[in-house]
């Protein structure tokens, strides 16, 4: 630890000596869980560590898959993929990158104790053909292996062996892993020093294999959880960049001549889902589940004044949707993006027709720290449902308290967001969320929703290697879900970054991941 700090001090000194050292101070909304990309299955941590570690393939700035540590690939058979590795790549410690590193990394990430095991669901085995060729075998025909591999980062085998880190960190054993606060990747930046919750410093990797498009020498990664403090830091110049600019503060940030706001919609679509089990969890209707009646679901849909939600709760920044996936996701169909109109009278009539002229009560589970402005839109929707005569009992709490209840099905209605990452394909939503629970399918089917017709289509598309056919099947499945109002779509959520005029340009893709290796400073 002490040594690392000395090194950091020396490096910082050396950098100060150079006149043109460009430092980017990145204020993020939260700390990364660890420097070990396999220790915590969390998208944001992975996106930060992607500056240090790389996968065999990667997404470009506009979310196309391109070669990274693998130069090319081919399918030898429907279940075997062969990858040609890039030659001449070196890890930060100078070790050369070879097939052994890939095999060891895949073994580590798919180990039983790895929290990231689920990110590579189809993986069966891998073998080395020669020093720069590996083969990966999957469980069955699987069209999305490359998408999954974008987030499987490659470690140096020798380094792992030397530091007893061939297995993932096992928090159950109470021993921390070497890789938790040390890193050795092939990426454009290397970790210089780290002080958790305070500052992590990344320095440029001068011997990166790719031609750098960035001109950054040092990245200071500073987590600032309080949104108003983050805005204050942005305005006063204590940070150059944030990937989470609070929506309500965008006017204030834009008003400053020194700050520029980058704003677009991210891939995540937000909707309400219901408990479709036999009974509700907390309701004055005891003998049955009103949500099982499609009329009730339609009434709830029609009761939402989405324009008011969009304009106020989302500050005019979300995109109202009728579809369950964003336009950029394969499986999206424009004709499915129409919403049912807002119609309060119609909603009341539907409720009366369904036998609930005076509405009914139910518990509505929303999280205060998960989706963008979730507190705001949940309250707004609860108010709208109240006006339709329903009695939603809004429960708002942090994810840590709500998630266990959601997973157990201990809710009547929930807000839900799905980005289809890292697959960037509607299959993600279909198999994980919409599919009835069975085997590895329907892990997120918390409320017993699902439909045999949809299940059949999902299973068929999961082994279909012909892309157009596969997409047609997925569209068909989503169409049924929409017709049944299984979920009530709301919007595609907005994302906002802010940067000071110390920065020249960056690339903002709709997966909401900063890619500072595509960023330049003035």
């Amino acid at each position: 630890m002490k040594k690392a700090w000395l090194l950091a001090a020396v490096a910082a000194f050396a950098l100060n000596g150079a006149v043109e050292a460009k430092t980017l101070k990145w204020g993020s909304a939260r700390e990364i869980a660890s420097l070990d990309p396999y220790s915590f299955g969390e998208t944001f941590t992975l996106s930060v560590l992607n500056h240090v570690y790389e996968g065999l393939v990667r997404y470009t700035g506009d979310l196309k898959i391109e070669p990274a540590l693998a130069e090319s690939w081919e399918t030898v058979s429907p279940t075997i993929w062969r990858f040609k590795l890039r030659q001449g790549v070196k890890f930060h410690n100078g070790n050369p990158f070879t097939a052994d590193d890939v095999i060891a990394s895949l073994a580590r990430v798919t180990h039983d104790t790895s929290p990231l095991k689920g990110n590579l669901p189809a993986y069966k085995s891998s073998k080395k053909i020669d020093d720069f060729t590996v083969e990966i075998e999957v469980n069955g025909p699987y069209p999305l292996l490359l998408n999954d591999l974008t987030n499987i980062f490659i470690f140096d085998k020798e380094w792992m062996e030397a530091n007893n880190s061939l297995l993932p960190t096992d928090s159950g054993k109470g021993v921390k892993g070497y890789a938790t606060d040390n890193a050795n990747g092939t990426g454009p930046f290397k970790v210089e020093s780290r002080r958790a919750d305070s500052k992590t410093i990344f320095a440029r990797n001068p011997s990166w294999w790719d031609k750098p498009q960035h001109n950054i020498d040092v990245i200071e990664f500073i987590p600032i959880t309080s949104s108003s403090t983050r805005v204050a830091a942005m305005l006063s110049g204590e940070i150059d960049f944030t990937n989470v600019a609070p929506l309500q503060d965008l006017p204030r940030l834009t008003a400053s001549s020194e700050v520029k706001v980058l704003q677009t919609n991210e891939l995540r679509s937000v909707f309400f889902a219901f408990n479709l089990g036999d009974k509700l969890v907390e309701s004055d209707v005891k003998d049955k589940n009103p949500f099982k009646d499609i009329k009730v679901r339609e009434a709830l849909y029609r009761a939402i004044d989405i324009d008011a939600v969009q304009k106020r709760a989302m500050r005019g920044l979300s995109r109202n949707t009728g579809a369950l996936v964003a336009p950029a996701i394969p499986g999206y169909e424009p004709s499915q993006d129409q919403r049912l109109p807002f119609d309060l009278a119609g909603a009341k009539k539907l409720l009366a027709d369904a036998g609930y002229p005076n509405g009914f009560s139910f518990v509505m589970n929303c999280q205060s720290d998960s989706l963008v402005n979730e507190e705001e839109f949940c309250q707004a929707v609860a108010a709208m449902w109240s006006r339709a005569g329903l009695k939603p009992n809004l429960s708002l709490a942090p994810r840590s308290q709500q998630a266990p209840k959601r997973v157990k099905g201990d809710f009547d209605a929930i807000s839900f967001g799905w980005a289809n990452e890292p697959m960037i394909d509607a299959y993600s939503l279909l198999v994980q969320v919409l599919r009835s629970k069975s085997g590895t399918g329907g892990v997120f089917n918390w409320g017993n929703w699902g439909d045999p017709r949809i299940d059949a289509l999902i299973d068929k598309s999961g082994v279909e290697l012909d892309t157009p056919k596969r997409i047609e099947m997925m569209k068909e499945a989503l169409k049924i879900a929409k017709a049944e109002h299984l979920f009530i779509p709301l919007h595609q959520q907005p994302m906002a970054w802010a940067m000071r005029n110390t920065m020249a340009s960056t690339v903002q893709a709709s997966d909401n991941k900063p890619r500072l290796w595509l960023t330049t400073m003035k």
């Binding site: 949104s227 108003s228 805005v231 204050a232 305005l235 609070p246 309500q248 503060d249 006017p251 204030r252 969890v281 907390e282 008011a308 939600v309 106020r312 709760a313 518990v363 589970n365 205060s368 507190e375 705001e376 309250q379 707004a380 609860a382 108010a383 109240s386 006006r387 939603p392 009992n393 809004l394 429960s395 708002l396 709490a397 942090p398 308290q401 209840k405 201990d410 809710f411």
Partner: protein, 310 residues
């Protein structure tokens, strides 16, 4: 103050007494009593005064979100102090929030006083093993800083309740968590004076003629220990209200659907830079005003009852 109402004629006697004289002569005391009375009355009758019931979701229209106070250019009737991002009227929210804060504050003081006084009486009267046990319990409570303890207790109780009961019982949970951390002071005060009284002849006499212990404690010992308890209670009321606000500010207190003043400040804090200053300023002012008047009153009471300082 409960003493005033206890018997007719008490008020008259109060105003004529030494303390009453001091009360009339101390502007800080009667001014803060007056302010407090107004705040309590408006909070009690808030459904009659407030233009909106902020707890009733059906009355809140998001179209009316973030309207500035009425005297600003974009102000709008009847939103005197503006609205929040949900379209909730800030003035109504403050009145209802004050009611929540006051109810929690008063109840917390009452509950901790009842617990503390009873345990103190028992401890001091019986002594021995019970005394030892209770005092060790008190030591343990005191060895966890109050704020931490309150966070802990409220987190556990919330978790133990089923989700549907969580919001209705949020206030009760807060009362418990605050009073479970503040009873020790009363217990120690009462125990000390009970130990003194216990040895006095009238108590010994009562015991000899077999007056039940409960009756002796209630009738004879308790009245002699009440003065310091009342002072502590008044001063603790301010602390209890502040504790509630702090817990709600940290997000472990009142839910956003029935906001207390602390919750309102927490929400307002998120909009600090977006120009909606009224969301954080007015609830903070109200909170400051309540606690200030309670504290001024408590200070005066302590000084007035402490002959050394007169």
């Amino acid at each position: 103050m409960p003493a005033e109402a206890a018997k007719p004629g008490r008020l008259r006697r109060f105003l004529d007494s030494d303390i009453g004289w001091s009360f009339r002569r101390t502007p800080a005391a009667w001014l803060s009593a007056l302010v407090l009375a107004i705040l309590i009355l408006t909070a009690l009758f808030c459904p009659l005064i407030a233009p909106q019931n902020p707890h009733d979701l059906a009355q809140i229209f998001i179209d009316k979100a973030e309207i500035p106070p009425i005297w600003s250019q974009d102000g709008e009737w009847p939103f005197l102090l503006g609205t929040d991002p949900q379209g909730r009227d800030v003035f109504s929210a403050i009145l209802y929030g004050t009611r929540v804060s006051l109810i929690i504050g008063f109840s917390a003081v009452m509950v901790s006083m009842v617990i503390g006084v009873s345990l103190g009486l028992i401890s001091g009267f019986y002594g021995g093993r019970i005394d030892n046990l209770l005092m060790r319990l008190g030591d343990t409570v005191l060895s966890i800083p109050t704020l931490l303890m309150a966070i802990l207790v409220s987190a556990i109780f919330r978790e133990l309740l089923p989700p549907a009961l969580r919001d209705p019982f949020a206030a009760a949970v807060l009362v418990l968590s605050i009073s479970l951390t503040s009873w020790v002071q009363y217990a120690r005060t009462v125990r000390a004076s009970t130990m003194v009284e216990r040895r006095k002849e009238y108590v010994l006499a009562a015991r000899i003629i077999k007056v039940p212990a409960g009756r002796i404690m209630r009738r004879h010992i308790l009245p002699n220990t009440l003065t310091p308890v009342m002072v502590a209670a008044t001063l603790n009321l301010g602390l209890a209200i502040l504790s509630e606000a702090t817990l709600s500010f940290l997000g472990v207190g009142m839910p956003i659907t029935q906001p207390s003043l602390g919750t309102l400040i927490r929400i307002g804090n998120q909009y600090l830079f977006s120009g909606s200053w009224w969301l954080v300023v007015f609830p903070s002012l109200q909170l400051g005003l309540i606690v200030l008047s309670v504290n001024l009153l408590g200070d005066w009471l302590r000084d007035a009852l402490n002959p050394k300082l007169r």
